[in-house]
Symmetry: C3
Amino acid sequence: MKSMTLAQVAECTGGRVEGDDSLEVSALGTLQSAQPGQLSFLANPRYRQSLESTRATAVLCRPDMVAHNPVASIVVDDPYGAFADISHRFDTAPSPEPGIHPRALVADTAMLADNVSIGANAIIEAGAVLEDGVVVMANSVVGAGSRLGQGVRLWPNVTIYHGVVIGPRTTIHSGAVIGADGFGFAPAGAGWKKIAQVGGVRIGADVDIGAGTTIDRGAIEDTVIGDGVIIDNQVQIAHNVVIGDHTAIAGKAGIAGSARVGRNCVIAGAVGIAGHLDICDGVQIMAMSLVSRSINEPGVYASGQPVDQHANWRKNTVRIRQLDDLFRRVKRLEKCSQDNGDTER
Amino acid sequence: MKSMTLAQVAECTGGRVEGDDSLEVSALGTLQSAQPGQLSFLANPRYRQSLESTRATAVLCRPDMVAHNPVASIVVDDPYGAFADISHRFDTAPSPEPGIHPRALVADTAMLADNVSIGANAIIEAGAVLEDGVVVMANSVVGAGSRLGQGVRLWPNVTIYHGVVIGPRTTIHSGAVIGADGFGFAPAGAGWKKIAQVGGVRIGADVDIGAGTTIDRGAIEDTVIGDGVIIDNQVQIAHNVVIGDHTAIAGKAGIAGSARVGRNCVIAGAVGIAGHLDICDGVQIMAMSLVSRSINEPGVYASGQPVDQHANWRKNTVRIRQLDDLFRRVKRLEKCSQDNGDTER
Amino acid sequence: MKSMTLAQVAECTGGRVEGDDSLEVSALGTLQSAQPGQLSFLANPRYRQSLESTRATAVLCRPDMVAHNPVASIVVDDPYGAFADISHRFDTAPSPEPGIHPRALVADTAMLADNVSIGANAIIEAGAVLEDGVVVMANSVVGAGSRLGQGVRLWPNVTIYHGVVIGPRTTIHSGAVIGADGFGFAPAGAGWKKIAQVGGVRIGADVDIGAGTTIDRGAIEDTVIGDGVIIDNQVQIAHNVVIGDHTAIAGKAGIAGSARVGRNCVIAGAVGIAGHLDICDGVQIMAMSLVSRSINEPGVYASGQPVDQHANWRKNTVRIRQLDDLFRRVKRLEKCSQDNGDTER
């Protein structure tokens, strides 16, 4: 376990220490459960009570919370961001040594920069390019002619098809599949004729792609993921989708073919976005909503229906199928009411 | 194919034979399609007709069904449970021999108990601990310092990250990823700052995890799956989720960060559960429902809307956006009606 | 890059050239972005404007579009189908050489026909059968006794369990898992008793299975996928499901246990189909819909609710829980209205 003095924590987070800056912390903890020797943070003043009873050695907090902090403070304006910065000092993830594992398979025509790390049974196909500091962990496959930018990290069991370009510092988690064929078929008699998917996938810099996520290659042109996009687990991104910079996509969302999502959007969990539509910048879609038309105005959108007790749900859900009829009935009543000279409204 | 006498079947299921207990069965079959030499079962009396015409050699059934059974009966109180017990005698799954495949890779610092079975190209990272009888099949990866309890079985192409603890007799199917980073990012200017996910994953005993399911590691503390939890395919469980013992989660369900699900819950297919909420013990959520608030009372909950013919659906679905307005209109009509001295109600 | 003359394109697509048939094309492009040397197509007359300004060298189009085409035409009746045919000539996917990679592992009892191609670290278990021209790419696993028909192609990191039968020319993309245990458990006291899943999976000819899709083995009998079925990414097909020929299933759809889907159905993205029901031939289900009852009439069905602005959504969504009550209130008003002798309607 690494260990840092509070002075070092303050330096790394651009904060200042209130208390003994020679104290040491060697791990992170939540306010509620942190032990002595651990560093915690308070981002949301609502949790002030947890601060007041914390057993952490030190807490990253805002100036106005210092008075409520029974232990040492590292005072910062953005405790959550400061916690994000410092968290990496305590990361427990393995840092693979540079070098090519004797059991890795690298094609003669692949081009590897210095300091790449290739794990056991990883496979780098012909013509692939791995820039400086790339990490490809065990059992991952990089397809022919694909290019991984500086510092790209593939966790184990990642599959990158041929003709995929990935920008610097992008991380892809296990089980993800980048560049599989888009779902492109032409009707043919009773059945279907496959259309070769000759486009590729272009992924920007500083992208994070979750476990089990799939991003298909384009039919003709590329599927494109912008810079700084963050994508959670089991997200499906179909062929020729374009995602703008810094957009966040939560787990189990699905985006159908040729949809264009703007910059700085937030797509919540299990959202479905239909194909061939546009979503402008700055749109937020709430969980389990269906987007079936283009959205041209920034803002928050939703359609998910929250649960009710089963008996109520059953009663009401059948009524939805009679809704249009009800509107007609009410219209008729309004007409009668007027004919009767009711002056209301 | 193994073969058992009905006497042996009765012994294994705690039942008694009505008929010739020396008859042999060598496979399982449904009542409708079973052939001579096969064993079937009747759990639900509704299917009595299938019983009356079955060609199976013997049927596991309740005492009151014996009279309707044209073939030998193994009489038990719980035919479905008895079938579950006996089914394993006819399992066709391979039982890997103990031993380490010459093409497996086991780190020097990994600790392997006796009778573990490690398949070809499987990788056991530094400091991992595999207890007695663990099976790690081909191309699976066990990350640094992770611990697999007695009899744990990983099918091929499973990925276990570092710092994951898995209880005895737990089974994990292909494509599953345990311990990938949770989706933790702090807003930073236009974009996002990644937060190192330093927690782990703790999975209990006798857990079953389906193909392609992902369970993320905790941000600070662990993600926790209780004992006897059963999880189907393509389920997403986010960081710091806690699942109580014996809860069942069907395919494609998604549970967002820090949600707590109680014991003995049943989460149906494609259900979405929002983050930072609590679901008490004994809650059942029906298919494709969205849980966006805590649930404090056991019972059945739903919000999924079943399909209608497209023409009707289109008519009614637009009306949902006018629903609040309709309520106002009806209120107005009620007021008029009262003003007119209608005495009804 | 391969290159073809327009004469060759016409021959391959059964069309005729309007223009210089000695011109060469070496890649595909969209009407909007095609460069000289590229071949494009116009399937939908709505995009005629793009045709009129295209820079492609030649365009596959219908006879009535030739007049609007500024460049050479390959005249065909079905441009989209013709494009599908020709697209494979320009495919960039690697074509693995026949042969067994020295780092592949093939069990002694596996039976391999001529011209099979087995990639690095691929594993073929005991008794598996690979017919002529089968391609198993890197890190894929074929379980004991499974059979891959002529020309089947498995991309990297595919997992085929034991006892799976796959028809000729079927393609399976990375991360897919075929034949994992169905979700079969019997209640047992507070918990669950696993039921061995002794059925297999039978997949027809010319099936296309997307990345990360899971198809479970049957509990007793087989799970069955018909001929010419096309399945997108991250689809979940549970045990004992039966899918009819030529049905299309889009990304993230889920089909629960023992459901039967007919022939020539189209299941859109993220649709959920409950277990133990029947859907007849020729049914189309729109995106994110829930099918909870059998469907016996061909046609289009839907239940997905499209997004609204959050403020409106919140107002209206709470009203759904009061809908049944509203119907009663309207009924009462109608009664009053009649008692008042209103003769309307």
